[in-house]
């Protein structure tokens, strides 16, 4: 039997603003992303020192996920929430940093702390560690936000029982331009899980 699923909550981080369910919870005048995200982290009382080791993409994804998952009363041991994320720029922001460190023979200093972030799915690992998610993780790359793909893949995971809930969306970081939109899909919620609603929420801010 085909079950229907719902969007329980959603978050945006863009234009120096962190929003949950369409309501701004933090706004900052800083146009510089590292400063903005640090201020957001402090304001939200995140208290997770590993945050400062993360690259820009992971910081963006981590906070966008954290503002939703901290309201979920998650189990301290383990949770079966799949993470299905996507973006356009993959990990290019950090890729460029690693490339700059190996470009010249005279200044050849590749760093493992940078290199490990040259994969887009590392941010999924960061979120999984914080929230004890021993679950499905996938990172897809598209030219633009692709609601249909996310909707279908999420439905498949929930329908087949491979995940109890799915946190999915878009986290993109490219040359100080950034955008995160995540939403939590599960059995209950007020918003129907279909491509029209996903697109509407994506564009709501």
């Amino acid at each position: 039997m085909t079950k229907t699923f719902h969007i329980k909550s959603y978050s945006h981080i863009k234009n120096q603003t962190v929003s949950v369910n369409g309501q701004a919870i933090f706004r900052d005048e800083n146009e510089d992303f590292p400063l903005f995200i640090k201020n957001a982290y402090k304001f939200l009382k995140t208290d997770y020192p590993k945050f400062f080791k993360m690259d820009n993409l992971s910081k963006l994804a981590f906070l966008a996920a954290d503002v939703l998952l901290k309201n979920e009363n998650l189990n301290e041991e383990e949770n079966n929430i799949a993470l299905i994320f996507s973006n356009k720029a993959s990990s290019l922001d950090t890729d460029r940093k690693h490339q700059a460190a190996i470009e010249n023979e005279a200044e050849y200093f590749p760093s493992p702390a940078v290199f490990v972030y040259t994969l887009p799915n590392i941010c999924l690992g960061e979120i999984s560690i914080k929230h004890r998610l021993y679950s499905e993780n996938s990172f897809f790359i598209f030219d633009r936000f692709n609601a249909e793909h996310l909707q279908l893949y999420t439905n498949s995971l929930l329908q087949s029982g491979k995940a109890e809930k799915v946190l999915c969306g878009w986290v993109d970081f490219d040359d100080n331009s950034y955008e995160a939109f995540l939403y939590l899909v599960e059995n209950v919620g007020k918003i129907e899980h279909n491509t029209e609603e996903i697109t509407r929420l994506y564009n709501i801010l």
């Binding site: 356009k88 050849y108 790359i141 491979k162």
Partner: protein
């Protein structure tokens, strides 16, 4: 739920430009790994399996203008063409395309590159492959570290089950670049000698470049002899560390359990494990612990990294294709580079090619970000050894 099969397949590696030749070379024990000293790639000596750019260009010029495509694009298109052509499927809206890669055209970021920098966007790579063949659907690019190649099979299966597609082509590939070599070297993870998965004297990985492609289909008609059915698949995160595997093999253990559960079989029914086996001390130890916890100590297991090196986003698909041919031939291939067990739990590493009636095999992979994927395959034919 609709059944799904892996059908036509191709491997482009320095061991050959089709699966049959590559598998033949593996059965002879030939490795594609060589020692290199090339300061334009890495300041010190290294061991890797590389494909000659000239050979790829010569091949590509038979089907297109090589000067317009990067080396990776040429490799991936050449490989995919050898799957698309024999499949003879009209590329309509019921046909999907999945691209599996970790770094794509990352070499265009180098100063010397003749290609525009925007070629480094993975969606550009997807578009180029999609347009070369005229796929109607936008390509789906999967970039999930070292599990990408196996996970792409899961993704294809799920889209077919959802009724979105009847057929999905998967093209996978990654290059050995200065970018990748310098990064793994900064982790002190590289071995300058041919790698020795699970061996007592293993010191690290070798990198390799291949492109590998497969057709995933819901149709049982016209399958090649090596075709397999996908019985079950799962991915699980370790929730432990972003660059080191879990010491208890938690994610791998859970992913295999979940895949067995979906396949509705017990671990006793697995005839062969095509494992990840990168030959780093931590990875191989983690796998041994996970397989031991699963009660799979006696199941014959190999790593193919001694033949190809670690081929990143292609590795899982490449190794699955070799597994398909291994089952068809009813031969377990030797785990090259292995002599003496060097992990704390007993596992049954294949020493020397061994004939065995094979029906079901398990493919696993693990990667940075704590990801682990397991897929179980069943032979579709009933050939005897």
């Amino acid at each position: 739920m609709a059944k799904t099969y892996l059908s036509y397949n191709n491997i482009h590696s320095n061991l050959g430009f089709n699966s049959e030749t590559v598998v033949e070379n593996i059965s002879k024990g030939l490795s594609g790994l060589d020692r290199y000293e090339d300061a334009s790639l890495l300041p010190g000596p290294f061991c890797a399996s590389l494909i000659s750019s000239e050979k790829i260009e010569d091949e590509f010029n038979k089907i297109g203008d090589a000067s317009k495509f990067t080396k990776l694009e040429q490799m991936m298109i050449l490989s995919l063409k050898k799957v698309v052509d024999p499949s003879n499927i009209p590329l309509n809206e019921k046909v999907g395309l999945i691209i599996s890669t970790t770094k794509g055209n990352i070499d265009v970021l180098e100063k010397e590159s003749e290609f525009p920098k925007n070629r480094a966007y993975l969606s550009e790579l997807g578009k180029i492959i999609q347009n070369f063949f005229g796929f109607k659907n936008e390509s789906i690019v999967l970039s999930n570290a070292c599990v990408s190649g196996v996970m792409a099979i899961s993704v294809a299966k799920r889209f077919i089950s959802e009724g979105k597609y009847d057929n999905v082509f998967i093209a996978s590939g990654d290059l050995v670049t200065k970018f990748i070599l310098s990064g793994f070297n900064s982790f002190q993870a590289l071995s300058a000698e041919p790698c020795k998965p699970y061996d007592k004297y293993r010191v690290g990985i070798n990198l390799g470049e291949v492109s590998a492609s497969v057709l995933v289909t819901s149709s049982k008609e016209g399958l090649p002899a090596e075709a397999v059915e996908i019985l079950g698949d799962a991915s699980r995160n370790d929730a432990n560390h972003i660059s080191g595997p879990s010491r208890t093999g938690e994610g791998l253990f859970r992913s295999v359990k979940a895949a067995l559960n979906e396949a509705n079989i017990t671990s006793a029914e697995i005839d062969y494990i095509s494992a990840h086996g990168t030959a780093t001390p931590f990875n191989d130890e983690m796998e041994a612990i996970a397989f031991s916890r699963l009660g799979m100590e006696l199941v014959p297991l190999n790593s193919l990294k001694g033949f190809f090196g670690h081929t990143l986003g292609a590795s899982g698909l490449l190794e699955t294709i070799v597994g398909m041919h291994s089952m068809e031939k009813n031969i377990l291939f030797s785990s090259k580079g292995f002599t003496e067990l060097g992990v704390s739990k007993h596992i049954n590493i294949i020493k020397g090619n061994t004939p065995k009636m094979l029906k079901v095999f398990l493919k696993t992979a693990s990667g940075f970000g704590g990801c682990n994927t397991a897929v179980i395959f069943k032979k579709t034919t009933t050939n005897q050894p």
